[in-house]
Amino acid sequence: MFDNLTEKFQRTFKTLRGEAKLTENNIDFAMHEIRVALLEADVNFKVVKEFIDRVRTKCLGAEVMTALSPAQQVIAFVRDELIATLGDKEARIVYSKNPPSVFLIVGLQGSGKTTSTGKLAGWLMKNGHRPLLLSVDVYRPAAREQLAVVARDVNAKLYPGEGVNEPLKLAKAALREASLTGYDVLLVDTAGRLHVDEALMQELSMLKRELNPSEILFVADAMTGQDAVKSAAEFHELLGISGVLLTKLDGDARGGAALSIRAVTGQPIKFVGVGEKLDALEQFYPDRMVSRLLGMGDVLSLIEKAQETFDLKQAERLQEKLRKDEFSLADFRDQIQQMRKMGPLDKILGMLPQIGPMKDLKKANLDERELVRTEAIINSMTERERNHHQIINGQRRKRIARGSGTTVNQVNQVLKQYAQMRKMMKSVSGGLMGGKIPRNLSQFLPKN
């Protein structure tokens, strides 16, 4: 399903590319594909319908822009509209004028509130705040213990409230404690609850009235399907949420819930959770979400980055070399240098669509240090060795290892990787850095 989508999109737009301008026909065709893509991404079907209607109208009214192919035009409209829906700038975090500010963390069971509370504490501390943590989840077994452990792990202060089992009492006491001891943000982790649970929803209302929070963050799982609109709308109607924290984006869910929730509440996504570690919290960037929703990894941002770092000429030369089987160890080193320039490797790999050989690439467990080592090893080779890897015998391997401060084993490893890279790049006739991606996707880029 996942793999097909990217291909389908490419096919759709290849078809569209042949045509000179947008017509009702090719617009219908494109809208159909986009509808399926968004549904597949779990955007609520009503939200999809409204979205498609808006984009269609824009397409129909479009002036013929000679600078863009029809495919580019449609993509541009879809992209703009998605960004407009998701919010086109980073959302700000709101603090109250008189500290302590209170952030109320709410959401369904299992959405990731407690972990997110810990991450937020870490984030606040990094930004110069002194948060105090409180769990008012008196229901789920060991929920308060969980927050206590999480707080300890990020070195944040927890209000234990031992012996007290009433959310409201706990909240009042913790707020007092925060004011008295100079904590400027009180983070309140609440019990997960269903939006149809009237008693528990009332409890949230009361907490809100008592604490007057400056942020009410609705924590939603990126894997949520169609129901996201219902739960988010209910929480919003009752509490007036101020933002959304979307969790578990480190998986392969497309996260259509982001669009649905935004559409029904109008509130921005403020943070995304991208891992189980307590520093895996990022601010939300709408443009990254857009390509993810469309199932293209973060290809668009990758392209932007690639454009900044890559010399297209060089990429073409490389492609040529690959075709002629002349991809040398020196080229391999160039590639590694390029990659390092682009930023943390796992992030880059995370941006790629999970298709074909790219999938294996992600599993290859490449890490930064290894890249540095690889570079050192290749640097210790002679020019001739770099151009003719076959001549690197045992003797030479020993010398290279000594020269680079590594072991023969590690040298062998690099040569093996090089061989694999050659093979892989040949199989995708271009691969990651070889020009194939820019060529395939050049249709998504503005012509200049």
Partner: protein
């Protein structure tokens, strides 16, 4: 698995869907779809009948692929043998769905082959630990001896949570310290269970995203340990899916099946407004039976899956 606590469950079953209906009725209609109307009216089938049907299926998380497959079938039938009215459409779509989803009590707990090993897997927060508490309670109430293996050694306070469920169910927990190798805890639990002739061992595992290669390999290793220590183990591997899950559920099922050899599904949190329709897409592709549904946070809130009631609830 032999449906534990059969009689208690019988009573609950009828209560469940009515409770479900009440819950749904209570929700202020945020985005109300007049789906029911398509089936109550004795009107001829037209484009709008199929459209509302499509919306109902999509809205239940059945997904665009399976939905359009089903709609095509209806359209086809309608034109070939002429479906008269909405009632016929309903029975047709119902039958199609019933062909796909089946509730099954797959592996009977053997009394000679002890212990019967059940591993519970799934992504983070779906309700694995809670389901284990409920299951353990049912087995124990049925007169089986049960041990729970605390192999989620990763999440903060996971073992403490399980301990509380163990106490509620009156079942012993086998645990090690936080951060221990899950396979080592499993080994301990199996050893203790063999020595004590325990009937059933239920293994809690840490929630993991199916995209995390090394964590999925950890499950493969646990399988191997189980197989080495107890003949035929694991006898069951239950994948827990949260009813709010969208299309990613299919990918979860694929990957967990690959690594852990899933034998059945537990669909949790059906007490909310989510329909859990993604299990239709899962069942269609992977042919995995759905064994239980979770309908709340209390110890009795786990009931055997009933395909007919489930299918009917998709349209309510």
């Amino acid at each position: 698995m032999i449906p534990a606590g059969q009689d208690a469950t019988e009573k609950k079953k009828s209560g469940f869907f009515s409770r479900l209906k009440n819950a749904v009725a209570k929700t202020r209609d945020v985005l109300n779809t007049p789906v029911e109307e398509i089936f109550t009216l004795k009107k001829a089938i037209d484009k709008s009948t199929l459209e509302s049907l499509e919306m109902a299926l999509l809205g239940a998380d059945i997904g665009p692929a399976t939905t359009s497959h089903l709609i095509e079938k209806i359209r086809d039938q309608a034109s070939r043998q002429g479906l008269k009215d909405a009632a016929e459409v309903k029975s047709l779509i119902r039958n199609e769905l019933l062909k796909v989803v089946r509730g099954e009590t797959a592996h009977p707990v053997s009394l000679t082959q002890k212990p019967h090993v059940i591993i519970i897997v799934g992504v983070n927060g779906v309700g694995k630990t809670t389901t284990i508490g409920k299951l353990a309670n049912q087995f124990r109430r049925d007169g089986r001896s049960v041990k729970i293996c605390a192999a989620d050694t990763f999440r903060a306070a996971a073992v403490e949570q399980l301990e509380i469920w163990g106490q509620r169910a009156g079942v012993e927990i086998v645990r090690q310290k936080h951060g221990a190798d899950p396979s080592a805890v499993l080994f301990d639990a199996l050893k203790a269970s063999k020595a004590a002739h325990t009937d059933v061992v239920i293994v809690d595992t840490a929630g993991r995203l199916h995209t995390k290669h090394n964590l999925m390999q950890e499950l493969e290793k646990m399988r191997r340990i189980a197989a080495r220590e107890v003949e035929g183990a694991p006898h069951e591997v239950l994948l827990v899916i949260d009813a709010v899950t969208g299309q990613n559920g299919v990918q979860q099922a694929r990957e967990f099946t690959k690594s852990a050899g899933v034998t059945g599904i537990v669909l949790t949190k059906l007490d909310g407004t989510a329909k859990g329709g993604v299990v239709v897409a899962i069942a269609k592709e992977l042919n995995i039976p759905i064994q239980f549904v979770g309908v709340g946070e209390k110890i009795d809130d786990l009931i055997p899956f009933d395909a007919e009631e489930f299918v009917d609830s998709l349209f309510e």
